[in-house]
Amino acid sequence: MKFFEHFGNYTLFLLGLFKRPERFKVFAKQTLLEMSSIGVGSFGIVSLISVFTGAVSTIQIGVQLVSGLVPDYMLGTFVRDSNIYEFSPTITCLVLAGKVGSSIASEMGTMKVTEQIDALEIMGINSANYLVLPKILAGVLTIPLLVVYAMVLSIIGGAISGVMGDIISVDAYVRGLRTDFVPFSVWFALIKSTTFAFLITSISAYHGYRTEGGALEVGRSSTMAVVYSAVAVIIFDYILSDILLGA
């Protein structure tokens, strides 16, 4: 029952968001600031995660290709596909659910308990529209770009670990990368990351916006935001894979 209550409230929350902004200039400025916070602010962590994800996937796939029945250059193909289809969009977004999600929820929660959101409402400003819509738009525009960046870095990370660990040569790795490339895989990753971006930003904002009480509740909202965002990412990962790649 609690799930349906949250789902209903979340839907109403989203319906209240999509209104014409009070001032387009202010809205655009807010969106740019949020894009900087989400995008530039997440550059470091996404870089680190991506390089190591690519490196680990090369080592693990390399370990399994010892039979000699599969040509060694196929390692590059497997690393490419596993990172583009799954690791880069999903792992990056799970990490961002923690970083961006908790940041949005705690910011909104603190504004709620210190009556800053009430102050906006009394001024006649649709607080959800003013505060949340720029975050969602910034997330939807920025996170897919971070995912593309993560794809590139994970493939580079895979090459570095492959060469350093004497698992594969650069030539063979590049040959594998160029074998049977399906451009749709990138579109698939972009569709997934755009969906995940919407889920992370909106679910986190919803939990922050509903905070009542004090510091303890802000922390609780932040935790809830991360947990629900991560669960939503995993569920939609399955749904989108089934819809877009299923037979």
Binding site: E22, R23, V26, T110, M111, T114, E115, Q116, D118, A119, E121, I122, M123, G124, I125
Partner: protein, 242 residues
């Protein structure tokens, strides 16, 4: 003028406001007093539309606030300024940007005109050289003054002050009281003040409403309060004297 007519509000079956009718006059400091949990803050939140009433009417002049749509209410809200108990200044904005915020959102003023108005409001609350500071850099009294400056930026017709003296030392409290009173008279604002502070009430109060357990127990002018004959009100006042 603001008029409440038979407003009722309950939460989970517990009645918090029970059939309250009251009037708040322009150019006057209209005080709402009562013990903690008596319903003062809920009443103020109902008046500004942060909480919807279950029953009753709230009139701003001739406009029935309760039965208006969200968009129609926005027009009335633009005439309302509010000083919150915790000031509710936007942490991420400087003092200047906090005061400029409603001006940038709702007026067509140029950047120069906005700055001029911000400086005028800051001067009016006796603050100088704080434009670039952030709320975290200010003392409690300074935050209250910035809160007042932001509340009057758009020349409101109605000013709501929720516990304006809470957390302030006696001297700063009197300064804030004086400021609110001056602004009320100067701009003929209908000012509504929630407080426990009897000193504040006797210094600047005009019209007094006493609430006890969600019901209006007494309403009248300050000069009549001691002869009100209401035992609960007299007891409340006596408990506040020292």
């Amino acid at each position: 003028m603001i008029q409440l007519k038979n407003i009722k509000k309950s939460f989970n079956g517990k009645i918090v406001l029970d059939d309250i009718s009251a009037s708040f006059y322009p150019g006057k400091a209209n005080f709402v007093i009562g013990a903690s949990g008596s319903g003062k803050s809920v009443m103020m939140k109902c008046m500004v539309g942060l909480i919807d009433v279950d029953q009753g009417e709230i009139f701003y002049g001739q406009d029935d606030f309760v039965n208006k749509s969200y968009e129609e209410r926005k027009l009335i809200r633009k005439e309302i300024g509010m000083l919150f108990q915790g000031t509710a200044l936007f942490d991420s904005l400087s003092v200047e940007d906090n005061i400029a915020f409603p001006l940038r959102m709702f007026t067509q003023m140029t950047a120069e005109e906005v700055l001029e108005r911000v400086n005028f409001c800051l001067k009016r609350v006796d603050l100088a050289n704080v434009n670039k500071l952030y709320p975290s850099n200010l003392s409690g009294g300074m935050k209250k003054r910035v809160g007042i400056a932001r509340a009057i930026a758009l020349n409101p017709k109605y000013l709501f002050c929720d516990e304006p003296n809470s957390g302030l030392d006696p001297l700063t409290s009197r300064l804030i009281d004086k400021l609110i009173k001056e602004i009320t008279i100067e701009y003929n604002i209908t000012t509504v003040i929630n407080t426990h502070d009897m000193k504040s009430l006797f210094d600047m109060g005009d019209n007094i409403i006493y609430i006890y357990q969600g019901k209006k127990e007494w309403e009248g002018e300050k000069s009549l309060i001691r002869s009100s004959g209401n035992s609960r009100l007299l007891e409340f006042m006596k408990a506040s004297e020292f």
